[in-house]
């Protein structure tokens, strides 16, 4: 185990990702202590005041403190990003592993279903669900997960297909180990290095999608998303208020780049072929 950790820490992209993401995690975890104001309430400040000592990122047109909104926004972003990526991964494992391992009709049916789901215009679907059922952060998270697992499932299946004829799997089969155990104990650990960059990419994409929904005014009204700050900034920017635009933009880019770099680093560390050097 320590050797794996050593390998991970030696990856430059992992370190870059960790440096980028740690302040975001810090903000998300300690939001209650860091944010000086309630992000969703009027703070008594002058609307659209530029950054100052009392409001370091300025205020929006309702007099809300943008710094507090940004801090709580980190919580929303990480919740949606990690939550939907984890859920998508779980579905992808349940579909992709047996599809690759058993093949035949089971594999065919599972993969055709995967192809179908991939072709659904997901953004419009999310908007439709939000309109019909009302908007909540969990609904958005769930729908993003339900439409984004197919890419992960395809990767898992392709890896399983290439692994299942290898000697160590054949040996496990000959040793009488059940198909279930082979899939989870022998095959799955060897799939991770191909899977991690796709999973972290998915986390980043989910954050962007949620921000887009909130930007259109269709987000959860009770949560302070970065997209919501940008929705206000979109109107405020015409009166020259750049601060509502700058800070959430920087944080979205930092978070998404951070996730991608972490995934890249993990993949390189887990990949037996690149770490031997």
């Amino acid at each position: 185990m320590p050797s794996i950790l050593n390998k991970v820490v030696k990856q430059k992209s992992f370190v870059i990702g960790a440096v980028l993401l740690s302040p975001i995690f810090f903000m998300a975890i300690f939001a209650n202590f860091i944010a000086p104001f309630n992000p969703l309430l009027y703070t008594g400040a002058k609307p659209l005041s530029p950054p100052s000592f009392s409001h370091i990122m300025g205020t929006d047109q309702t007099g809300g403190d943008i710094f507090s909104q940004v801090v709580y926004g980190a919580r929303v972003a990480l919740y949606v990003g990690i939550g939907s990526a984890a859920l998508a991964l779980a579905i992808a494992i349940v579909v992709g592993l047996p599809a690759g391992y058993f093949g035949g009709i089971i594999g065919e049916v599972l993969m055709r279903f995967t192809d179908l789901v991939i072709s659904i215009p997901s953004f419009v679907l999310i908007i439709m669900v939000v309109v019909l059922f009302g908007s909540s952060i969990n609904t958005i998270l769930l729908i993003i997960a339900l439409v984004s697992w197919p890419i992960l499932a395809r990767i898992i299946r392709a890896e399983v297909l290439s692994l299942k004829e290898r000697e160590f799997i054949l040996a496990a089969k000959a040793g009488g180990i059940s198909g279930f155990n082979i899939m989870f104990d022998e095959i799955l650990p060897n799939v991770w290095f191909r899977l991690t960059p796709a999973v972290t990419l998915q986390a980043g994409l989910a954050i962007i999608i949620e921000a887009g929904i909130s930007f259109l005014g269709l987000g959860d009204p009770n949560s302070s998303s970065w997209g919501r700050i940008l929705m206000f900034a979109y109107q405020a920017v015409f009166s020259g208020a750049w601060w509502g635009l700058l800070f959430p933009t920087l944080l979205i880019i930092i978070t998404v780049v951070g996730f991608n770099q972490i995934g890249d680093g993990l993949a390189k560390a887990f990949n037996p072929r690149t770490t031997q050097v």
Partner: protein, 323 residues
């Protein structure tokens, strides 16, 4: 024979996509809180009209029969009636479709051409300063949401430098002659096309770069160099051909993302396409229009995918046998 079977399979599959989206919207309307008749008619519907809807969709019949009636409506090209526009949903969508296609098509062509050029510039001297600048800029653009790019463009080119209009499709008064109208549309299109292109531009740049770098290490490229083909020709003809295949594949997969980008870009720049129509429909709670746009985009994506599949099937014989 192989190609024919492949084509039939793809057509059946496209049809299945449309059926699945129709099934999803049926399920959502049934499961959503509230009266299904209102969800099928729209919030502005009168009680008399709601009765008509209940009759038309057989809302008092068993669920399976309702589903069949719903499918029958779709198969005859009936996506419902929009109360806010006083027209069938299909008519409302068709009026906006050319505007969306113009925006998306231009952005698509622009990002592919520029992306391949930038990727080639980067791959010609891998790990040089030029390559590093192109690659890292692409990575940042790749992680920037379309709507953020759009907002930045508005701040810089509309508010700071008064170079472009903040939105719309043409100036009032330019409709009188065709030349003035085209010029005005082109002028209004610059920022939305740029905003929509950035993400795809980054993808194509990175794909071309990695594909070319891989191809440049292959034996057939060494062979080309050995027999005296110029470096430029090796890059632009020999290596590029193989590097372009993954771009074609990814371009097909990304159709769904283009829909997302178009919805956001149109709304930022008030471009009168289907994306702005969707958000207007949401604001008016015109449910049949929202559902109609969902099914319509699914059909468009399915058709575009089918077209892409047919092209690959003809270009690359390996794909035929796989399917």
């Amino acid at each position: 024979m192989g190609l024919y079977r492949y084509l039939v399979k793809r057509v059946v599959f496209s049809f299945a996509i449309v059926m699945l989206t129709a099934f999803i919207s049926f399920l959502l309307i049934k499961e959503a809180p509230g009266d299904p008749a209102v969800l099928l008619g729209g919030e502005g519907a009168t009680p008399q009209y709601l009765d008509v809807i209940r009759q038309e969709y057989g809302l008092n019949l068993p669920l399976t029969q309702q589903l069949l009636i719903y499918f029958e409506h779709l198969l005859t090209g009936n996506l419902g009636y929009s109360i806010t526009y006083g027209q069938p949903v299909v008519t409302v969508i068709m009026e906006r479709l050319p505007n969306t296609l113009l925006l998306v098509g231009t952005a698509f062509v622009f990002s592919i051409i520029l992306g391949v050029i930038l990727g080639m510039l980067a791959a010609a001297k891998p790990y040089s300063i030029r390559d590093r600048i192109i690659s890292s800029l692409s990575l940042i653009l790749y992680s920037t949401p379309v709507f953020v790019t759009g907002l930045i463009l508005i701040y810089v080119f509309v508010i700071k430098v008064h170079l472009f209009p903040p939105g719309g499709m043409f100036s009032i008064g330019s409709q009188t002659n065709l030349l003035a109208l085209s010029a005005s549309i082109a002028y209004h299109m610059v920022l939305p096309v740029l905003a929509l292109s950035t993400f795809f531009l980054a993808t194509y740049t990175l794909l071309t770069r990695s594909g070319l770098i891989e191809a440049l290490n292959m034996n057939y490229v060494t062979m080309a160099r050995a027999k005296g083909v110029s470096e430029r020709r090796t890059l632009t003809v020999h290596a590029l051909r193989n590097a372009l295949l993954p771009i074609v594949t990814v371009a097909g997969v990304q159709l769904g993302l283009i829909v997302t980008g178009a919805v956001l870009t149109e709304n930022i720049f008030s471009w009168p396409g289907i994306g702005t129509l969707l958000i207007q429909a949401v604001e008016y709670r015109d449910f049949p229009l929202v559902t109609g746009i969902f099914i319509f985009t699914a059909i468009s994506v399915a058709i575009a995918n089918l077209a892409a599949d047919i092209v690959y099937g003809i270009v690359d014989p390996r794909i035929r046998s796989e399917a």
